[in-house]
Symmetry: C2
Subunit: 110 residues, 2 copies
Amino acid sequence: MDNLNAVLAAIADPSRREIILRLVEGPARVTEIAEPFDMSLNAVSKHLKVLEVAGLVHREKQGREHLIAVRPEPLRLVKTWLHEYEKFWSEHLDKVEKHFKNKKKGRKKL
Amino acid sequence: MDNLNAVLAAIADPSRREIILRLVEGPARVTEIAEPFDMSLNAVSKHLKVLEVAGLVHREKQGREHLIAVRPEPLRLVKTWLHEYEKFWSEHLDKVEKHFKNKKKGRKKL
DNA sequence: GATTCATTCAACCATATGGTTGAATGAATT
DNA sequence: AATTCATTCAACCATATGGTTGAATGAATC
Protein backbone atom coordinates (compact mmCIF):
# COMPACT_ATOMS: atom_id res chain seq x y z
CA MET A 1 0.00 0.00 0.00
CA ASP A 2 1.27 3.45 -0.91
CA ASN A 3 -0.36 5.21 2.01
CA LEU A 4 2.10 3.63 4.39
CA ASN A 5 4.44 6.54 3.72
CA ALA A 6 1.85 9.05 4.88
CA VAL A 7 0.87 6.98 7.91
CA LEU A 8 4.43 6.50 9.10
CA ALA A 9 5.31 10.14 8.49
CA ALA A 10 2.18 11.14 10.39
CA ILE A 11 2.95 9.08 13.48
CA ALA A 12 6.64 10.00 13.37
CA ASP A 13 5.76 13.29 15.04
CA PRO A 14 5.36 13.06 18.83
CA SER A 15 2.66 15.71 19.02
CA ARG A 16 0.61 13.79 16.51
CA ARG A 17 1.07 10.54 18.43
CA GLU A 18 -0.09 12.36 21.53
CA ILE A 19 -3.14 13.59 19.66
CA ILE A 20 -3.92 10.07 18.50
CA LEU A 21 -3.68 8.63 22.01
CA ARG A 22 -5.79 11.49 23.28
CA LEU A 23 -8.46 10.77 20.68
CA VAL A 24 -8.76 7.13 21.66
CA GLU A 25 -10.55 8.45 24.74
CA GLY A 26 -13.20 9.71 22.37
CA PRO A 27 -13.80 12.30 19.67
CA ALA A 28 -12.99 15.91 20.45
CA ARG A 29 -13.16 19.37 18.97
CA VAL A 30 -10.08 21.07 17.59
CA THR A 31 -9.83 23.53 20.47
CA GLU A 32 -10.12 20.73 23.01
CA ILE A 33 -7.39 18.79 21.28
CA ALA A 34 -5.16 21.83 21.15
CA GLU A 35 -5.66 22.75 24.80
CA PRO A 36 -2.86 20.66 26.41
CA PHE A 37 -0.30 21.68 23.79
CA ASP A 38 2.15 24.52 24.09
CA MET A 39 1.64 25.65 20.52
CA SER A 40 -0.82 27.73 18.59
CA LEU A 41 -4.24 26.44 17.66
CA ASN A 42 -3.17 26.80 14.06
CA ALA A 43 -0.25 24.45 14.53
CA VAL A 44 -2.56 21.82 15.99
CA SER A 45 -4.99 22.38 13.14
CA LYS A 46 -2.16 21.59 10.74
CA HIS A 47 -1.27 18.43 12.62
CA LEU A 48 -4.88 17.34 12.40
CA LYS A 49 -4.80 17.93 8.67
CA VAL A 50 -1.76 15.66 8.36
CA LEU A 51 -3.48 12.96 10.41
CA GLU A 52 -6.62 13.36 8.33
CA VAL A 53 -4.76 13.02 5.03
CA ALA A 54 -3.09 9.87 6.38
CA GLY A 55 -6.57 8.58 7.23
CA LEU A 56 -5.76 8.32 10.91
CA VAL A 57 -8.46 10.75 11.86
CA HIS A 58 -11.91 11.58 10.61
CA ARG A 59 -13.54 14.97 10.71
CA GLU A 60 -17.25 15.55 11.14
CA LYS A 61 -18.30 19.15 10.81
CA GLN A 62 -21.04 19.98 13.27
CA GLY A 63 -22.00 23.53 12.65
CA ARG A 64 -19.06 25.75 13.46
CA GLU A 65 -17.11 23.08 15.26
CA HIS A 66 -15.32 20.05 13.86
CA LEU A 67 -15.58 16.75 15.71
CA ILE A 68 -12.36 14.82 15.25
CA ALA A 69 -12.40 11.05 15.74
CA VAL A 70 -9.54 8.60 15.55
CA ARG A 71 -9.63 5.98 12.82
CA PRO A 72 -7.48 2.95 13.64
CA GLU A 73 -7.44 1.20 10.26
CA PRO A 74 -4.37 2.81 8.69
CA LEU A 75 -2.23 1.56 11.53
CA ARG A 76 -2.90 -1.88 10.11
CA LEU A 77 -0.55 -0.92 7.28
CA VAL A 78 2.23 -0.41 9.78
CA LYS A 79 1.53 -3.73 11.43
CA THR A 80 1.46 -5.39 8.04
CA TRP A 81 4.83 -3.97 7.13
CA LEU A 82 6.29 -5.11 10.43
CA HIS A 83 4.89 -8.57 9.79
CA GLU A 84 6.35 -8.62 6.31
CA TYR A 85 9.66 -7.67 7.80
CA GLU A 86 9.39 -10.46 10.36
CA LYS A 87 8.35 -12.94 7.71
CA PHE A 88 11.44 -12.16 5.66
CA TRP A 89 13.48 -12.29 8.81
CA SER A 90 12.32 -15.76 9.76
CA GLU A 91 12.66 -16.98 6.17
CA HIS A 92 16.22 -15.78 6.27
CA LEU A 93 16.80 -17.59 9.53
CA ASP A 94 15.44 -20.72 7.85
CA LYS A 95 17.94 -20.29 5.05
CA VAL A 96 20.77 -19.84 7.50
CA GLU A 97 19.64 -22.92 9.36
CA LYS A 98 19.56 -24.98 6.18
CA HIS A 99 22.91 -23.59 5.24
CA PHE A 100 24.40 -24.91 8.46
CA LYS A 101 22.59 -28.22 8.12
CA ASN A 102 24.11 -28.63 4.66
CA LYS A 103 27.48 -27.75 6.05
CA LYS A 104 27.07 -30.55 8.61
CA LYS A 105 25.81 -33.13 6.11
CA GLY A 106 28.23 -32.31 3.33
CA ARG A 107 31.23 -31.61 5.46
CA LYS A 108 33.35 -34.30 3.85
CA LYS A 109 32.42 -33.30 0.30
CA LEU A 110 33.83 -29.79 0.48
CA MET B 1 11.66 5.78 24.44
CA ASP B 2 12.69 8.96 22.64
CA ASN B 3 14.26 7.14 19.72
CA LEU B 4 10.85 6.19 18.44
CA ASN B 5 10.79 9.48 16.56
CA ALA B 6 13.99 8.61 14.71
CA VAL B 7 12.88 5.05 14.00
CA LEU B 8 9.51 6.06 12.60
CA ALA B 9 11.02 8.87 10.54
CA ALA B 10 13.61 6.44 9.22
CA ILE B 11 11.12 3.83 8.07
CA ALA B 12 8.75 6.47 6.71
CA ASP B 13 10.93 6.66 3.61
CA PRO B 14 10.22 3.91 1.07
CA SER B 15 13.83 3.68 -0.14
CA ARG B 16 14.94 3.07 3.41
CA ARG B 17 12.28 0.41 3.94
CA GLU B 18 13.51 -1.23 0.77
CA ILE B 19 17.05 -1.14 2.09
CA ILE B 20 15.94 -2.73 5.34
CA LEU B 21 14.13 -5.55 3.59
CA ARG B 22 17.10 -6.06 1.35
CA LEU B 23 19.42 -6.29 4.35
CA VAL B 24 17.38 -9.00 6.00
CA GLU B 25 18.83 -11.27 3.29
CA GLY B 26 22.18 -10.60 4.88
CA PRO B 27 24.75 -7.84 5.37
CA ALA B 28 25.97 -5.97 2.34
CA ARG B 29 28.43 -3.30 1.30
CA VAL B 30 27.27 0.22 0.53
CA THR B 31 27.78 -0.15 -3.22
CA GLU B 32 25.83 -3.40 -3.27
CA ILE B 33 22.98 -1.79 -1.39
CA ALA B 34 22.99 1.16 -3.75
CA GLU B 35 23.03 -0.94 -6.91
CA PRO B 36 19.27 -1.48 -7.43
CA PHE B 37 18.45 2.16 -6.74
CA ASP B 38 18.04 4.86 -9.32
CA MET B 39 19.90 7.42 -7.28
CA SER B 40 23.47 8.35 -6.58
CA LEU B 41 25.67 6.33 -4.27
CA ASN B 42 25.86 9.41 -2.09
CA ALA B 43 22.12 9.51 -1.65
CA VAL B 44 22.12 5.88 -0.52
CA SER B 45 25.00 6.61 1.80
CA LYS B 46 22.88 9.32 3.41
CA HIS B 47 19.94 6.94 3.81
CA LEU B 48 22.24 4.46 5.51
CA LYS B 49 23.36 7.17 7.87
CA VAL B 50 19.77 7.88 8.81
CA LEU B 51 19.11 4.19 9.41
CA GLU B 52 22.30 3.93 11.43
CA VAL B 53 21.40 6.88 13.65
CA ALA B 54 18.00 5.31 14.24
CA GLY B 55 19.81 2.12 15.25
CA LEU B 56 18.17 0.12 12.50
CA VAL B 57 21.46 -0.71 10.89
CA HIS B 58 24.94 -1.44 12.11
CA ARG B 59 28.14 -0.62 10.27
CA GLU B 60 31.29 -2.69 10.47
CA LYS B 61 34.24 -1.17 8.67
CA GLN B 62 36.31 -3.82 6.96
CA GLY B 63 39.22 -2.10 5.40
CA ARG B 64 37.99 0.23 2.74
CA GLU B 65 34.51 -1.22 2.63
CA HIS B 66 31.69 -0.95 5.15
CA LEU B 67 29.59 -3.99 5.92
CA ILE B 68 26.06 -2.92 6.73
CA ALA B 69 23.85 -5.23 8.75
CA VAL B 70 20.24 -4.81 9.77
CA ARG B 71 19.45 -4.53 13.46
CA PRO B 72 15.85 -5.45 14.27
CA GLU B 73 15.62 -4.23 17.86
CA PRO B 74 14.48 -0.64 17.29
CA LEU B 75 11.41 -1.87 15.46
CA ARG B 76 10.31 -3.18 18.84
CA LEU B 77 9.68 0.44 19.78
CA VAL B 78 7.19 0.71 16.96
CA LYS B 79 5.45 -2.47 18.00
CA THR B 80 5.38 -1.25 21.57
CA TRP B 81 3.73 1.99 20.55
CA LEU B 82 1.16 0.12 18.50
CA HIS B 83 0.45 -2.11 21.48
CA GLU B 84 0.10 0.88 23.76
CA TYR B 85 -2.35 2.33 21.28
CA GLU B 86 -4.31 -0.91 21.18
CA LYS B 87 -4.28 -1.16 24.94
CA PHE B 88 -5.81 2.29 25.25
CA TRP B 89 -8.21 1.41 22.50
CA SER B 90 -9.49 -1.70 24.23
CA GLU B 91 -9.64 0.08 27.57
CA HIS B 92 -11.78 2.67 25.91
CA LEU B 93 -14.01 -0.01 24.45
CA ASP B 94 -14.38 -1.38 27.97
CA LYS B 95 -15.51 2.02 29.14
CA VAL B 96 -17.98 2.30 26.32
CA GLU B 97 -19.29 -1.15 27.11
CA LYS B 98 -19.75 -0.29 30.78
CA HIS B 99 -21.39 2.93 29.74
CA PHE B 100 -23.98 1.02 27.76
CA LYS B 101 -24.43 -1.55 30.51
CA ASN B 102 -25.20 1.27 32.92
CA LYS B 103 -27.61 2.71 30.45
CA LYS B 104 -29.41 -0.63 30.33
CA LYS B 105 -29.45 -1.13 34.09
CA GLY B 106 -30.36 2.40 34.97
CA ARG B 107 -32.70 3.07 32.12
CA LYS B 108 -35.64 3.94 34.33
CA LYS B 109 -33.60 6.32 36.49
CA LEU B 110 -32.77 8.72 33.64
C1' DG C 1 54.71 5.49 -4.73
C1' DA C 2 51.03 6.11 -7.95
C1' DT C 3 46.57 4.57 -8.93
C1' DT C 4 42.31 2.73 -8.25
C1' DC C 5 38.40 1.64 -5.45
C1' DA C 6 34.81 2.27 -1.52
C1' DT C 7 33.15 5.41 1.02
C1' DT C 8 32.21 9.84 3.22
C1' DC C 9 32.38 14.96 3.56
C1' DA C 10 31.03 19.51 1.91
C1' DA C 11 28.45 22.59 -0.51
C1' DC C 12 24.55 23.42 -2.83
C1' DC C 13 19.51 23.11 -4.40
C1' DA C 14 14.50 22.46 -4.26
C1' DT C 15 10.92 21.18 -1.60
C1' DA C 16 8.78 19.68 2.84
C1' DT C 17 7.94 20.45 7.69
C1' DG C 18 6.57 22.55 11.93
C1' DG C 19 5.90 26.61 13.70
C1' DT C 20 4.27 31.64 13.82
C1' DT C 21 0.83 35.73 13.02
C1' DG C 22 -3.03 37.95 10.83
C1' DA C 23 -7.01 37.78 7.91
C1' DA C 24 -11.04 35.16 6.20
C1' DT C 25 -15.02 32.15 6.63
C1' DG C 26 -19.06 30.73 8.50
C1' DA C 27 -22.09 29.22 12.31
C1' DA C 28 -24.12 30.70 16.91
C1' DT C 29 -25.57 34.33 19.98
C1' DT C 30 -27.14 38.78 21.20
C1' DA D 1 -27.68 43.03 11.78
C1' DA D 2 -23.64 43.01 14.73
C1' DT D 3 -20.74 40.27 17.45
C1' DT D 4 -18.56 36.43 19.05
C1' DC D 5 -16.69 31.90 18.56
C1' DA D 6 -14.43 27.73 16.04
C1' DT D 7 -11.89 26.86 12.57
C1' DT D 8 -9.17 27.27 8.38
C1' DC D 9 -6.49 29.88 4.87
C1' DA D 10 -2.46 32.56 3.52
C1' DA D 11 1.90 34.25 3.97
C1' DC D 12 6.00 33.97 6.09
C1' DC D 13 10.18 31.93 8.59
C1' DA D 14 13.71 28.65 10.09
C1' DT D 15 15.17 24.25 9.74
C1' DA D 16 15.01 19.45 7.89
C1' DT D 17 14.95 16.35 4.01
C1' DG D 18 16.22 14.02 -0.14
C1' DG D 19 18.65 14.68 -3.83
C1' DT D 20 22.77 16.35 -6.69
C1' DT D 21 27.99 17.08 -7.88
C1' DG D 22 32.82 17.45 -6.78
C1' DA D 23 36.56 16.94 -3.55
C1' DA D 24 38.65 14.34 0.31
C1' DT D 25 39.95 10.22 2.82
C1' DG D 26 41.92 5.97 3.29
C1' DA D 27 42.62 1.06 2.12
C1' DA D 28 44.04 -2.15 -1.75
C1' DT D 29 46.56 -2.99 -5.81
C1' DC D 30 49.87 -2.23 -9.55
